[in-house]
């Protein structure tokens, strides 16, 4: 029985190696170039928003917040018209990494799960992808803040 298990493990390892060899891969370089262009354009758009808002007399902080709002809104609208997923199909990480990707991950389940009701459909599922981001972001920043406090404390003594 034991020997059988070891044989099976070995067979599985060999098979997985073999699968890795025969599986076709998309060109990593081409995908990186697409991600670069897509991500670059979204960030440039952010920079344009910042410039426009500061032009109109906003402080740097407020302009940054308004830029976040604008990008999120734009992404949600594009998600509603099913355009955002097409951008990601082409641009990959280029449209996942910016804040617009986060907004897409909130709006998409909200639209998809509306058929399952306000509370258990939209209410729960709106967090399926964004929930972990919020949880672990807050948790990490809490830990970092705690360490920061301890360091301050140590330095104060």
């Amino acid at each position: 029985m034991k020997e059988e298990n070891i044989n099976e493990q070995q067979r599985n390892r060999q098979y997985n190696e073999y699968v890795k060899q025969v599986a076709p891969k998309a060109s990593c370089l081409a995908n990186c170039v697409k991600a670069f262009i897509t991500g670059g354009l979204i960030c440039t758009l952010g920079q344009i928003f910042i410039a426009v808002y500061m032009e109109n007399g906003m402080s740097k902080e407020d302009a940054a917040l308004w830029t976040t709002l604008s990008l999120v809104l734009l992404s949600v609208i594009l998600t509603g018209f099913n355009i955002y997923p097409l951008i990601t199909t082409w641009g990959g990480a280029g449209s996942l990494v910016p804040i617009t990707g986060f907004a897409n991950s909130v709006a998409a389940p909200a639209i998809e799960y509306k058929k399952e009701g306000q509370v258990f459909g939209i209410g729960c599922k709106i967090f399926t992808i964004a929930g972990p981001v919020i949880l672990y972001g807050i948790l990490t920043s809490w830990v970092a803040g705690l360490l920061y406090m301890l360091v301050q404390w140590g330095a104060g003594r």
């Binding site: 997923p85 998809e112 058929k115």
Partner: protein
């Protein structure tokens, strides 16, 4: 008559009397587009949500079958049916209005093979004269259940497949017809430890290879016995692996193997990557393509093998591998 370890050759013949198949728009635009009974452009099939849409698919396929068949409705003893959704909701809501006893089956994408096998056993065993075997899948309901909401952006790898939207149904009967189910080979659950749910071809190919080898051994034949050996939804990646695995065992299928997943879409122009998948992939290809070619005597003996990847989002999140299974149905053209 029981043959070998996992096969049956039926003493009392079972025949395929009529078929019905219905597909979505993308399938209708594919290479087999002209052969389907109905192509529906509305992906919701006139319903309110994706799950209901898939139920509607089953209903439409059943209605179409009832309108084509010579078998009176009250003489249909059982329906063997299944889909991909949790607790088979597409089947239970789709077939409830017919007032016919139903066996609900889950075999992932191999369900059509499972349904035809059990239906044929029932008829051959004298427990029914006419039964329906059917299976459905819907791209959107499957995507929603197994992957992401459709509005969420993601990049599909080259090994991934596209779930076929459709439903295929066949009427099995004891009365003589041109094409018969000569026998079956039932698949084991085969797990080679692949964890990549975006490469289902690699997860299922070992199961298909295992089934084909078992069929050859049980029937004491080899690949030349069949005009075509047709797997369900291995796609281009799974096909390559299958041919390699069988070559190791001394069989060369390169000239007579086909895969429904490769036939149903034009991978280049329809961007379906490795091919089609889902219960409907093998089911509608059987109805629209395989059985037609058998009736025309292009092929006289076919081993039809729907393949299935047995995973759920829970097993995936818990880090389990994706086992595969396959169900072989031996189809023969009567002289």
């Amino acid at each position: 008559m029981v043959k070998g370890k996992q096969s049956i050759l039926f003493d009392k013949a079972v025949y395929i009397e009529e078929t019905a198949c219905i597909v979505g728009q993308k399938e209708g635009e594919g290479p087999l587009g002209g052969s389907f009974d109905i192509v529906v452009e509305d992906p919701m099939f006139g319903s309110k949500n994706w799950e209901e849409a898939e139920s509607r698919l089953q209903e439409m396929a059943m209605d179409k079958l009832l309108s084509k068949t010579q078998v009176p409705r009250e003489q249909i003893r059982y329906i063997f049916a299944g889909d991909l959704l949790g607790q088979l909701i597409a089947t239970s809501f789709g077939l409830k209005k017919y007032d016919i006893p139903v066996f609900g089956l889950y075999g992932a994408c191999s369900t059509m093979g499972e349904a035809m096998s059990l239906g044929a056993i029932t008829i051959s065993g004298g427990c029914a004269d006419n039964v329906v075997a059917m299976a459905s899948s819907h791209f959107a309901s499957a995507e929603k259940q197994f992957r992401f909401p459709l509005e969420y952006g993601n990049q599909r790898p080259e090994t991934s497949t596209w779930t076929v939207t459709g439903c295929g149904a066949v009427m099995l009967t004891a009365q003589s017809q041109p094409v018969s189910i000569k026998g079956i080979t039932t698949g084991k659950i085969v797990d080679f430890g692949v964890k990549d749910s975006m490469n289902m071809g690699a997860c299922m190919a070992p199961a298909a290879a295992d089934l084909i080898t078992a069929n050859f051994k049980d029937l004491e034949v080899d690949e030349k016995y069949y005009d075509r050996i047709i797997t369900g939804d291995l796609g281009v990646v799974g096909r390559k692996i299958l041919l390699d695995l069988l070559r190791e065992k001394g069989y060369d299928l390169s000239s007579n193997h086909m895969d429904c997943g490769i036939e149903i879409f034009d991978a280049k122009n329809q961007d379906t990557k490795a091919g089609g998948s889902g219960c409907a992939c093998s089911a509608v290809t059987l109805c629209a393509y395989i059985l037609k070619n058998m009736k025309n005597r292009k092929w006289n003996r076919v081993l039809f093998i729907p393949t299935g990847a047995l995973l759920s989002t829970v097993s995936y999140n818990e880090g389990k591998s994706v086992p595969g299974t396959a169900h072989g149905v031996i189809l023969e053209r009567q002289a």
